[in-house]
């Protein structure tokens, strides 16, 4: 069905189609619309699900863990401080190998209080064992949420998946949305280690170094296998529903001398900048990173790179730029832009490309002498 919706409403609509048995969530700006809409679906009977209005995000993830451990499908959503408060249980969910799906609406961290878009929240969770996808449109938020359940619950993965969408810029923007009925695209959950009272076991018990090490390696092995599961899921999605994605999305990259690399809505904005630059005769392309975990295999050889980070690791650098540097031995022009919802236009992005200085870092809008 063709409609218009905000990013938040699109996520909620996708969750309705995925039919989780338990949703536990705590509201936080700018994620509120997701949980309000799901509560509404449950109240109206459109979604046959237990909605647990928990008293904190820590409890939201704990409740999802408890429910998921019995072998049912679960979902939650959060943002920023909510994700930080949940952090302990975010780790627990992955370690317990539970295919929980969570939407995180990317928002800056206080102080000062700031409710606008930034990626530092979810990037602080990048080492937890969760798969992370970053989306750039309302439709993509919807499609990625549908696919997240199938990927997380796949026997070769059994790891939680986090869908990240930019606060307000995407969560509250209305765009065209085509909804779908996934049908058997998402098979029923079949958790091999679901709690079984007929076969009592200890879960998460005291574990010595050798076994613990093996469990960690098993997470990494599943993370590596998830590359294939994502590809296969996205391919089948494209075949059945007509929209294709990938670990990263290219825009006019084929003959490009310079690539703009970013995540989320800024990367979508970059496509407009690319058209402008092309008109000026600059052969530029945009490479939008979608899956941050597992980290994508990219072909960056022989091009100038302009990496825009809407995040920062203090004392180290832009997290995406540093990740690309260490993984691909490249020397990008690293631009820190958009923190706390800072306005970044396609003109600004075009200027980053024109003024690029490989190997240097620039904080957009901050003069050097401050």
């Amino acid at each position: 069905m063709l409609t218009i919706a905000t990013g938040n409403k699109a996520v909620a609509a996708a969750v309705k189609e995925a039919r989780p048995e338990v949703v536990a969530a705590y509201p936080i700006t700018p994620q509120t619309e997701i949980v309000e809409q799901i509560a509404e679906y449950v109240a109206s009977g459109e979604l046959d699900c237990r909605y647990i209005p928990v008293e904190s995000e820590h409890s939201a993830m704990a409740a999802c863990i408890g429910a998921s451990a019995t072998g049912v499908r679960t979902f939650t959503a959060t943002s920023s401080h909510g994700l930080m408060y949940m952090h302990e249980m975010v780790n627990w969910a992955a370690g317990a190998r539970l295919p929980i799906v969570m939407a995180n609406v990317n928002r800056a961290l206080g102080p000062g209080w700031n409710v606008w878009a930034e990626h530092t929240d979810s990037l602080q969770e990048r080492d937890t064992g969760w798969l992370q996808v970053y989306v750039s449109t309302v439709q993509e938020a919807y499609d990625a949420t549908i696919m997240a359940f199938r990927i997380a619950e796949h026997r070769d993965v059994l790891l939680p998946v986090m869908i990240n969408l930019d606060g307000f810029v995407l969560s509250h923007s209305m765009q065209r949305l085509e909804t779908l009925h996934p049908g058997d695209f998402i098979p029923p959950v079949n958790l091999p280690h679901a709690i079984d009272t007929a076969n009592p076991a200890g879960y998460g018990t005291l574990t010595g170094p050798d076994d613990y090490f093996r469990f960690r390696w098993d997470i990494e092995r599943s993370m590596r296998r998830s590359v294939g599961v994502i590809a296969e899921t996205e391919q089948e999605f494209a075949d059945r529903f007509g929209r294709s994605f990938g670990p990263a999305q290219e825009y006019r990259c084929e003959d490009a001398d310079v690539l703009v690399i970013a995540m989320g809505t800024l990367a979508k904005e970059a496509e407009v900048a690319i058209d402008r630059l092309r008109d000026e005769g600059i052969r530029a392309g945009s490479l939008r990173i979608r899956w941050l975990r597992p980290f994508p295999e990219l072909d960056l050889d022989g091009r100038d790179l302009v990496v825009i980070d809407r995040d920062y690791s203090f004392g180290f650098g832009g997290i995406l730029a540093q990740s690309l540097k260490s993984r691909y031995r490249v020397d990008p022009y690293s631009v820190i832009a958009g923190l706390g919802g800072q306005e970044v236009t396609f003109d600004d992005i075009a200027s980053f490309v024109r003024e690029r200085k490989p190997g240097e870092e620039r904080w957009f809008g901050v003069s050097d002498d401050v």
Partner: protein, 293 residues
């Protein structure tokens, strides 16, 4: 007398300390609950006693979860089971640290949402698993590794906090009275919605008494009125006979304090605080028991 099943759900030779009260209590909790039960255990002594991977000392599934998260984890589990039409008992078995301190928010939330589960706090009045640091449940005057001069502040009134949520069933129990534990767990599990049992767990290494004295210490706690056995069912309090008798003529407090190394050299001020807290709780419960309030 209630027939207690012969089935054992805790295997012998666990890593519990000699005279461990929490495993004595858990033995009767599980006998009452039976095999269609999932135990949710946050960080506490039980998370060690249950055995290390790949073994388990329990004959029911034990789900370990982070310190603050037990009641919330149980909420999710209970909702999932009830939606599936399953009556599986979801029982949290948590220490006093995981209940009165770091876990109280999740407990409060689960009670308020009328989660269909049983929350049991076994209370040894300190952080036992990490080597006996003070908890909010440590009584005034008790020495712990973080209150080497004796705790200044009074024991937190966990039961008052839980009662304020008005759960359909709550009770106190004590390791010295295992039949009473059994009966109360059976009753708690027969009631829909949240139920809560607070079990006093005299801890030999923590309280510094001889490990063959666990049951005796529990009896002294009850007879001195320092621990009152009662039930609160749909708001109606009824005090157990043994506690009613004890409250009429409590043993001198000294008889309870003297065998415990943790109270050695306790100040008169701390003793006064213990007595005043005991009397305050006793008077409140006696009034409720008589239906005065």
């Amino acid at each position: 007398m209630t027939e207690i099943p012969k089935e054992e759900y805790i295997l012998k030779c666990t890593s519990a300390c000699a005279g461990c009260p929490s495993s004595i209590a858990l033995r009767y909790v599980l006998k009452a609950a039976g095999p269609e039960t999932v135990l949710v255990v946050p960080a506490c002594c039980t998370s060690v006693i249950q055995g290390a991977y790949p073994n388990t000392a329990m004959n029911v599934p034990v789900y370990n979860v982070a310190f603050a998260a037990a009641a919330a984890c149980a909420s999710g589990m209970s909702e999932a089971y009830r939606k599936a039409g399953r009556k599986t008992h979801v029982i949290v078995y948590a220490g006093d640290g995981g209940t009165v301190d770091i876990g109280i928010q999740a407990l409060s939330g689960a009670l308020e949402r009328e989660t269909d589960f049983l929350y049991i706090c076994y209370d040894n009045e300190a952080y036992g698993n990490t080597g006996m640091q003070r908890s909010g449940s440590t009584p005034a005057g008790a020495r712990t590794t973080t209150t080497p001069g004796g705790k200044i502040h009074a024991k937190k009134d966990l039961d008052g906090i839980v009662a304020a949520h008005n759960p359909p069933y709550m009770a106190t129990a004590c390791v010295a009275y295992p039949q009473d534990i059994f009966k109360k767990v059976r009753k708690a599990l027969s009631i829909r919605g949240p139920s809560f049992i607070h079990i006093l767990a005299p801890c030999p290494p923590g309280w510094r008494f001889s490990s063959d004295m666990t049951i005796e210490m529990g009896k002294l706690a009850v007879r001195s009125g320092m621990w009152i056995l009662y039930e609160r069912e749909h708001g109606k309090v009824s005090i157990n006979g043994v506690s009613k008798a004890a409250l009429k003529k409590p043993l001198p407090l000294e008889e309870y304090l003297a065998p415990q190394g943790r109270f050695k050299g306790i100040s008169q001020q701390a003793i006064d605080s213990l007595i005043s807290q005991r009397d305050r709780v006793a008077q409140r419960l006696l009034k409720e028991d008589e239906g005065i309030c």
